[in-house]
């Protein structure tokens, strides 16, 4: 059941990899794992998928466990470098190939796959400046300690420095079981206290949903706009609602990220090192794009925006395209 014409060990089949994610849930992770699964299937790989559920220590244990299991390669999805460098090295020492997504393990043997949080934040914030001008009262929803959020927030900070007219009048946020509802409650308090606030930057789509809920409940859809990051079918639904304050979002297709990760790892396992850096370009999606093209789901988005459907990163002739 090997893959005809593929280099060893794929020609004989029986390749086994582990995918260890730092995150525990959410649309993004779901899409990522779906991408991982279909690319793995296309390659005849058995993929062991596990999640650390936002616990960095657990992520270490899971990687350790993958080493114990004797897999051929490991995809490390997010996490923190300090905590993972040594276990990643331990995996390499055990002859296991490693690729990392969105966590800089700073190791020449480990290909780094990046969707570039900075690029996403920059894309959408530039859109905000384009639409709202260089002077406005802005707010940001942010909770420290989640690496992608930290990187996206840093871009917001640099924007407020670059454009002195942009004022951060409030920053709030919470991560709990009912993020959307809790953020909505907070946002209402913020909007009441800051009636001139006109732009909210939400570096995570869960936050965007909460802020949108608050704006809807207060009926401020005309005056306050949301600039977000990430996209999913339900995000699209929220954006295209009539009068939706969520006007733009920047994202990569998480499923494509999953596919690229598996391909990069497969190349590495086959002895064809994919390079130290594999980049996936993010796309800006505005409300107008969606409404004008009648897009209501991720699948439709992929049809209309080819850049969203696939990435050329880490491809090879012997790697079959996943069934979609």
């Amino acid at each position: 059941e090997g893959l005809a014409g593929a280099p060893a060990p794929f020609d004989k089949g029986g390749v086994r990899i582990a995918v260890v994610s730092f995150l525990g849930s959410g649309d993004w992770l779901q899409a990522f794992e779906a991408g991982v699964k279909r690319q793995a299937e296309a390659l005849g790989i058995e993929a062991n998928v596990s999640q650390a559920r936002n616990d960095i220590n657990t992520q270490r244990e899971l990687i350790q466990q993958a080493i114990n299991l004797g897999v051929d390669g490991i995809v490390i999805n997010n996490g923190q470098p300090e905590a993972l460098k040594d276990v990643a090295q331990a995996a390499l020492d055990a002859g296991i190939k490693v690729v990392a997504y969105d966590v800089n393990l700073d190791n020449p043997k480990i290909p780094q796959i990046e969707q570039s949080d900075a690029d996403m934040a920059r894309l959408v914030l530039e859109q905000a400046v384009k639409e709202q001008g260089e002077a406005f009262e802005g707010g940001v929803v942010y909770v420290a300690g989640f690496a992608p959020l930290d990187r996206r927030y840093a871009v917001w900070k640099s924007f407020t420095q670059k454009y002195p007219g942009i004022k951060e009048v409030a920053s709030w946020g919470v991560v709990n079981d009912t993020v959307a509802a809790s953020v909505a409650d907070q946002t209402k308090a913020v909007l009441r206290a800051n009636p001139n606030l006109s732009v909210v930057f939400t570096p995570w789509d869960e936050f965007a949903r909460g802020v949108k809920l608050a704006i809807d409940e207060l009926g401020l859809g005309e005056t306050v706009k949301i600039y977000g990051i990430d996209i999913s079918t339900s995000d699209i639904q929220a954006i295209i609602e009539p009068g939706s304050p969520w006007v733009a979002t920047a994202a990569t297709n998480a499923a494509v990220v999953g596919e690229v990760s598996v391909r990069a790892l497969s190349l590495d396992i086959a002895g064809q090192f994919p390079g130290r850096s594999v980049l996936i370009q993010p796309t800006l999606v505005t409300r107008a794009d969606l409404v004008d093209n009648g897009i209501g789901t991720i699948e439709q988005l992929q049809e209309k925006f080819p850049a969203f459907r696939d990435s050329d990163a880490a491809k090879a002739a012997w790697i079959p395209a996943p069934a979609r």
Binding site: G173, A180, A181, A184, S234, Q237
Partner: protein
């Protein structure tokens, strides 16, 4: 006649007065303080925003209060609420049920989970904490199995590859988003109704006395003729139903089925119930106290957010005020032993 003089009713000294009203006074001070710092704080709209923000926690807290008063402890309320969000979404998005059926189904589900808790505890004699903790883990996993761990929203892809055909029933949003007279959000009305009904049940009916009697001494209540097992089952069923109601409100507000463990809902509702111990110096679980406890925390969080306090100082202040209020309530004028 043995005319031993009855001991004089202990006069309420000043410490007792302070203890009695400490939390309420603190609440007033908070409100005034926030109002001074930020005039928008005391608007009608913001008032109802606060109530809306605490409604789910308060409703779950009332359930916790009922089980506490019957000498139990329900650690599963958070995950029952989280499961209810998923169940409601699944019912509408996948099974394409209407709002009414969905609500009935989810409430029944909550009651059924409560019954399961109760049977584990009453029939098998598993300690409350243990049984409901197990249920909590069970639900945290169970709620995700139908969708394979995915969140539920209109147009979602099911595990079998097909696309879900249904969507949220617009009528369902009434429960979470409508405002009566354009002012009072429905969740607040629901919370008020729950609080009133359960306050009446627990304080003004025979049933309430029996719940407390069971909590105080189950054997004594049994010997006095109470069907204690039925009451304890009922307590868990009420708690489960209330948690399901809370979950329905969350679903009707957010409009999708999000994967979550419900741990923070659990903690916040337990905190509200425990703060309730101190309200009016009750020193036991009580419905009024729980609701005031939830509102107390809500005022604090809303005010601090308005003042743009970073989220971590909010947790800190929440804890500090809790400690302070408790120290005042329990520590003042009461020598332990």
């Amino acid at each position: 006649m043995t005319d031993i003089p009855a001991p004089a009713v202990p006069r309420r000294d000043r410490a007792a007065l302070v203890r009695r009203y400490a939390l309420v006074a603190l609440l007033v001070v908070l409100v005034v303080g926030f109002r001074l710092a930020e005039p928008a704080f005391l608007s009608t709209n913001n008032f109802f925003s606060i109530l809306q923000a605490v409604s789910v926690v308060a409703i779950l807290g009332v359930g916790v209060t009922v089980t506490l008063s019957a000498g139990g402890f329900d650690l599963s309320v958070g995950s029952v609420a989280a499961s209810s969000v998923m169940a409601a979404s699944y019912a509408m998005v996948v099974w394409q049920l209407g709002a009414g059926e969905t609500i009935g189904l989810v409430l029944a589900l909550g009651a059924a989970i409560g019954l399961a808790n109760g049977l584990l505890i009453v029939r098998l004699g598993i300690p409350d904490l243990l049984a409901t903790l197990a249920m909590m883990f069970l639900l945290a996993g169970l709620q995700l199995i139908p969708t394979g761990g995915r969140s539920i929203s209109a147009g979602m892809i099911l595990p079998d590859g097909s696309t879900a055909a249904g969507a949220y029933d617009p009528a369902f949003f009434v429960l979470g988003r409508l405002r009566l007279f354009d002012v009072v959000p429905v969740p607040v009305v629901v919370m008020a109704a729950v609080a009133l009904v359960f306050w009446f049940l627990m304080e003004r009916t025979r049933f309430g006395r029996v719940f407390y009697a069971i909590g105080g001494n189950e054997t004594a209540a049994h010997l006095a003729g109470a069907p204690t097992r039925a009451y304890r089952l009922a307590a868990y069923m009420l708690s489960g139903s209330l948690a399901a109601l809370g979950g329905l409100i969350v679903a009707a507000r957010v409009g999708r089925g999000d994967v979550s463990s419900g741990a923070s809902l659990l903690l916040d509702s337990v905190a509200a119930a425990l703060i309730g111990f101190a309200v009016l110096d009750a020193r036991r679980a009580n419905v009024l106290g729980t609701v005031i406890g939830a509102i107390f925390v809500g005022v604090l969080l809303n005010g601090l957010t308005m003042l743009n306090a970073p989220y971590y100082t909010q947790d800190f202040v929440k804890g500090a005020v809790l400690v302070g209020a408790l120290a005042l309530t329990f520590g003042l004028g009461r020598k332990a032993r």
